[in-house]
Symmetry: C2
Subunit: 215 residues, 2 copies
Amino acid sequence: MCPPAGAESVRPRAGDNGGMSGGTKARGRRPGGEDTRGAVLAAARTEFAARGYQKASMRAIARAAGVDAALLHHYFGSKDRLFMAALEFPLDPRTVVESVFAGDPATVGERVAGFVLGLWEQPPVRERLLALVRTAAASEEVAALMRDFMVTELVARVAGLLDLPDPELRVELVMSQVVGLAVARYVIAVEPLASAPPEALAPLLGRTVQGYLTG
Amino acid sequence: MCPPAGAESVRPRAGDNGGMSGGTKARGRRPGGEDTRGAVLAAARTEFAARGYQKASMRAIARAAGVDAALLHHYFGSKDRLFMAALEFPLDPRTVVESVFAGDPATVGERVAGFVLGLWEQPPVRERLLALVRTAAASEEVAALMRDFMVTELVARVAGLLDLPDPELRVELVMSQVVGLAVARYVIAVEPLASAPPEALAPLLGRTVQGYLTG
């Protein structure tokens, strides 16, 4: 069974690690063939941009794409998965929460550092993430959309796992360090940070994350 | 907390750029007057952009601006001060090193956090810093120039104060957290981070900085 044509641009590539979304659920094409899929993704981008992540409606997207809402759910499962497909977002917050943040709180920093560095060190994933960062930097609308998605799907879930004051603030401090590190290392490429082996960074980043989340 | 060092003294006054416009040359310009200052700053921007911070030459800038090299030194003192004036860089690395990083290593994180938050919380300084971040994000050339300046004037000096392995890496991790936090708080404005009082952020940021610099 073939993946839907055109899926290449929205699916994580083979070899992406466990944090990758794989959330577009490429399946054999039936009523929702390539044209339908493209129409849905275009409608989703328009709806998300116009109304933000939280207020965007699956029903409105289905209507705009001229498909049945049940079909939309069948193919994309949920709003977060449709968002990830439409924006080529290579990171599934559900998987990140389940496989990285959940588990022993005493070693969460280590797991987050290992996950983040493992993710950014894969060139295709890094390129896609950097493209998203650049697009967000250039457009307030896109930045707001990303923020809305991340707060709803990642920050809120991780914060729910923490038993400390200001849990959302702590999760956002982790995100600020992760994004700042990625920009310094991969965009600005300041040396020696840009060439430091991940093994040298992991303990330093891990301790910071641990401090924010449990300290 | 330190004032944004040099913000008043090095920022080009209104009309500097206008001083470059046609027709002003006929007026008798005095050495070091507005016209000369504007010509020097324009020549400096061109030279820094073309050759980078380290390779840019005060002599070449003086020549391009049609002024004596001694006059250039008299008015701007040194290459770092000329750079800050030309790029409206509102932060003097020398002052930061002397007043923030030097001193008791056991409380350096606290001092850095207080300084950084105090700096960003001043709207005019914040605006100027964000403008620099945006310009650097949009131009690889500007990003390289900023990186070159910061590594030469800030990272190297602070690293020289540390007695731990990988001192430059540690300083750059601090910078990555500081820039990442600024972007998350002031650009992306993710809540509750954007509205958190500086007093709530300072201890969390301070501990991270302390960990990178002495941990």
